[in-house]
C-alpha cells in the first residue's frame, strides 16, 4: 500500500523528468548559446527549432559564423531542478520590489483567509445542517432556498462583496463563505439524516428528550461522518481561494502566482502551486490520521 502511495507521486514526477531532461523528448525550442552571425540572436534566447534551423542553414549558405544552441523546452515548463531551486530561494530571497510580500507572508495570508472563511461557514453551516437533518420542518423550510442559492456561482458575488465589505480581506472571506456554506448545509443535513433511526429510538426509550437527543445521540452519532464532510469541504474552500484573492486588493498566494507569471518566472509559479498542493494534501493526511485517533469506534475512518 505504502509503495503504491509513493509510486502515485513518483510516476508524474518521472514523466516531468523525462520531458525536461531527455533532449529528444519534446523540446520544441532551442536555447541560443552563441548567436554566431545571426543579428537578432542573443545568448540565452529561446527560438523555435524550425526558425533556428532555417537561420543556421542561411548562415551556412552565406558562409558566416554558425549559431549554436541546445534543445530546450518553452519557458512555461521549467525543469524539476529549477522549480526546486525556486522553492528554496523563494522562501529565502527578498523580492525585487521593496513592498512586495515574501512568499511565506503571502502564504500565511492565504491560509488565514481560508481558515476564517471556513470557520465562519462552519459556524453557520454545521448547526443549520444538523437541524435540517434532524427536524423535517427545519429542512423543508430552508433547504429549497439553499438548493437554489448554491447554484449561484460564488465568483458572481465578487463585485457585490467588494461593494458591501470593502476591498481588503472582508470580501475574500465572504466569497469563501458563499462558496462553501450552501454545500455544507446540504451535505451535513444529508449526513445527519443517514443516522441509524434505531439509535434515536433506543435513546428515547431510555428516557432521552429534546435537546439532549441532539447533544447526546445525533451529534456523537454523526461525528465521524461530519468530520469527513468537513475535510472534503475544507478542500472545497481552497478552490474558492483563487477567485477570492483576485478581488479587491490582490493578495496572498494568488497574487504571488500572477505576479511571478507576469514576469515569466514560471519556476516560481510552479513552486507556489506545489506549496499549495503540499499544504492541502498534507493537512488532509494529518486530519485523516487525527480522525482515526479521535473515532476509534468508526471503522470506516481506517479505509480513507
Amino acid at each position: 500500500m505504502k509503495v503504491r502511495n509513493i509510486a502515485s507521486f513518483l510516476l508524474p514526477l518521472l514523466v516531468w523528468c523525462l520531458v525536461s531532461y531527455v533532449p529528444f523528448v519534446w523540446h520544441p525550442k532551442v536555447e541560443v548559446q552563441e548567436p554566431g552571425a545571426v543579428e537578432y540572436f542573443q545568448p540565452g534566447m529561446l527560438i523555435d527549432r524550425a526558425d533556428f534551423e532555417r537561420e543556421a542553414a542561411d548562415m551556412a549558405q552565406q558562409q558566416l559564423a554558425l549559431p549554436t544552441g541546445l534543445p530546450a523546452n518553452p519557458i512555461y515548463l521549467p525543469a524539476p531542478h529549477q522549480v526546486l531551486r525556486a522553492l528554496v530561494t523563494s522562501f529565502a530571497a527578498v523580492p525585487e520590489q521593496k513592498d512586495a510580500p515574501r512568499l511565506h507572508q503571502s502564504l500565511w495570508h492565504s491560509i488565514q483567509i481560508i481558515l476564517w472563511g471556513f470557520l465562519l461557514s462552519s459556524a453557520i453551516g454545521v448547526p443549520l445542517g444538523i437541524l435540517c437533518g434532524t427536524y423535517r420542518n427545519v429542512g423543508r423550510l430552508s433547504e429549497p432556498f439553499i438548493e437554489f442559492f448554491r447554484y449561484l456561482p460564488a465568483p458572481a458575488f465578487c463585485a457585490l462583496a467588494v461593494a458591501v465589505l470593502g476591498i481588503y480581506d472582508g470580501p475574500k472571506i465572504a466569497i469563501i463563505v458563499i462558496g462553501t456554506l450552501f454545500q455544507q448545509v446540504l451535505i451535513i443535513a444529508n449526513t445527519t439524516r443517514k443516522l441509524e433511526i434505531t439509535l434515536l429510538e433506543a435513546a428515547r426509550t431510555l428516557g432521552t428528550r429534546g435537546v439532549r437527543l441532539i447533544t447526546r445521540v445525533v451529534l456523537p452519532g454523526i461525528l465521524p461522518d461530519l468530520y469527513r464532510d468537513q475535510r472534503i469541504l475544507l478542500g472545497w474552500a481552497w478552490t474558492y481561494l483563487i477567485v477570492a484573492e483576485l478581488i479587491g486588493t490582490s493578495s496572498g498566494i494568488t497574487f504571488f502566482i500572477t505576479q511571478q507569471a507576469r514576469y515569466q518566472h514560471f519556476d516560481n509559479v510552479y513552486a507556489a502551486m506545489l506549496i499549495i498542493g503540499v499544504i492541502g494534501f498534507g493537512s488532509d493526511v494529518l486530519l485523516a490520521r487525527l480522525g482515526k485517533w479521535l473515532f476509534p469506534w468508526d471503522r470506516t475512518q481506517e479505509r480513507t
Partner: protein
C-alpha cells in the same frame, strides 16, 4: 392437598391462576392503528386487548404483516395509536418512557460509547451522577456476564454479546416491563438457543415482566407463559394460548408431548401461510430441469 397429587391439568390451572392473581403491569384496551398511505388508509391493528401480569413472560407471534412490530412500537411509545388505550400500572401512557425498556432486533447500541458507557446511558439520562451510574452499569454487566468487556466498543463484540449489552442497558433503568422486538432474530441458531436460556435465567431472578415478539414458534413456546397469536390484515388477536409446558423449561422439552401439542395448535391457528418460517412469503419454485454448466462426465453424485 399436596401439589404432587394434582393432575397435570389442575397443576396448570393453578399455575395460571397464580399468574392472574398478580396485578396487571401492562393493559392494552381496544388498541387500533391506521396508517395513511398513498393507496388510502391501512388498518394495521384492530381492537387488540390483552393484559400482561407482573413477572409474566408473554410472547407475541403471527404471520408477517400482522402488525406485531407496530404493536410493540406503540407500546414503547415510538408510534402513536389511532384508538384504544395502553395502561402501565393502570396509568395511560403516551410517548416513550423509562417504565418500558426496549430491546431492538437490530444493533441499537451506541457505537461511539463503550459497553459500560452504553449501559450508563439510561441512568445518566435520569440524572444519576457519573459514579452512581457507573456502579449500576457494572452490576448489570455482571448479571449478563460481560464485565470483562466493559471497555470494549460494540463493534468488537459478537451479535449475541451485543444483545446482552442491549438487555443490560434496558434493565438498568429498572423498567416495569421489558419489550423485546425479535431480539434474537439476527443471531445464528446456536447463539439464539443460548440467549433464550440466558433470558429465562434473567427473568427468573428479577422482578421483571417481559413482552417478547418473535416469528419463531419454538422460541415462543420455550419462553412464554402465554402466547398472543395475531392474525394479519388487519392485525387482530386470534387467540391467547396458555403454554402448558411446565417450568422450569429446558431444551429437552422440545420433544415433550405438551410442547408438540402446543406447537401443532398454534401452527393450525397461523395456517394457511407457510408454517415453519412464518416470515417467508411464497417463494418461487426452482426450475425442475436445470441447465448443466459442467462437463457431462464431471459428475458429483
Amino acid at each position: 392437598m399436596s401439589e404432587a397429587a394434582l393432575s397435570p391439568t389442575d397443576e396448570l390451572a393453578q399455575r395460571f391462576a397464580r399468574i392472574y392473581e398478580r396485578e396487571a403491569i401492562l393493559e392494552v384496551r381496544g388498541l387500533g392503528k391506521q396508517f395513511a398511505t398513498a393507496g388510502g388508509t391501512v388498518q394495521a391493528l384492530r381492537d387488540v386487548s390483552f393484559k400482561v401480569h407482573r413477572r409474566e413472560l408473554v410472547c407475541v407471534i403471527g404471520p408477517s404483516g400482522c402488525g406485531k412490530s407496530t404493536l410493540i412500537r406503540i407500546l414503547a411509545g415510538l408510534e402513536t395509536l389511532s384508538s384504544g388505550q395502553v395502561l402501565v400500572d393502570g396509568k395511560p401512557v403516551s410517548g416513550p418512557g423509562r417504565d418500558r425498556g426496549m430491546v431492538f432486533q437490530g444493533y441499537s447500541l451506541f457505537p461511539w460509547l463503550t459497553v459500560k458507557r452504553n449501559v450508563m446511558f439510561g441512568p445518566e439520562m435520569s440524572g444519576h451522577p457519573h459514579n452512581v451510574a457507573e456502579g449500576m452499569a457494572r452490576q448489570w454487566l455482571e448479571l449478563v456476564g460481560l464485565s470483562e468487556f466493559a471497555d470494549a466498543y460494540p463493534h468488537q463484540l459478537s451479535g449475541g454479546m451485543r444483545q446482552r449489552v442491549a438487555i443490560a442497558r434496558a434493565l438498568v433503568n429498572e423498567p416495569r416491563i421489558l419489550l423485546m422486538d425479535e431480539p434474537f432474530g439476527a443471531l445464528d441458531a446456536q447463539t439464539r438457543a443460548k440467549m433464550q436460556s440466558h433470558l429465562l435465567d434473567i427473568w427468573k431472578n428479577l422482578d421483571i415482566t417481559v413482552l417478547f415478539i418473535t416469528h419463531d414458534l419454538d422460541e415462543a413456546i420455550y419462553l412464554a407463559d402465554r402466547i398472543l397469536v395475531l392474525k394479519a390484515h388487519p392485525g387482530e388477536v386470534q387467540e391467547i394460548v396458555e403454554v402448558p409446558v411446565p417450568r422450569p423449561r429446558s431444551p429437552a422439552q422440545f420433544s415433550s408431548e405438551a410442547f408438540r401439542a402446543t406447537r401443532a395448535h398454534i401452527e393450525a391457528l397461523i395456517h394457511p401461510p407457510v408454517v415453519h418460517s412464518l416470515e417467508s412469503e411464497e417463494e418461487p419454485a426452482p426450475a425442475s430441469q436445470m441447465i448443466r454448466f459442467t462437463a457431462v462426465d464431471d459428475n458429483v453424485e
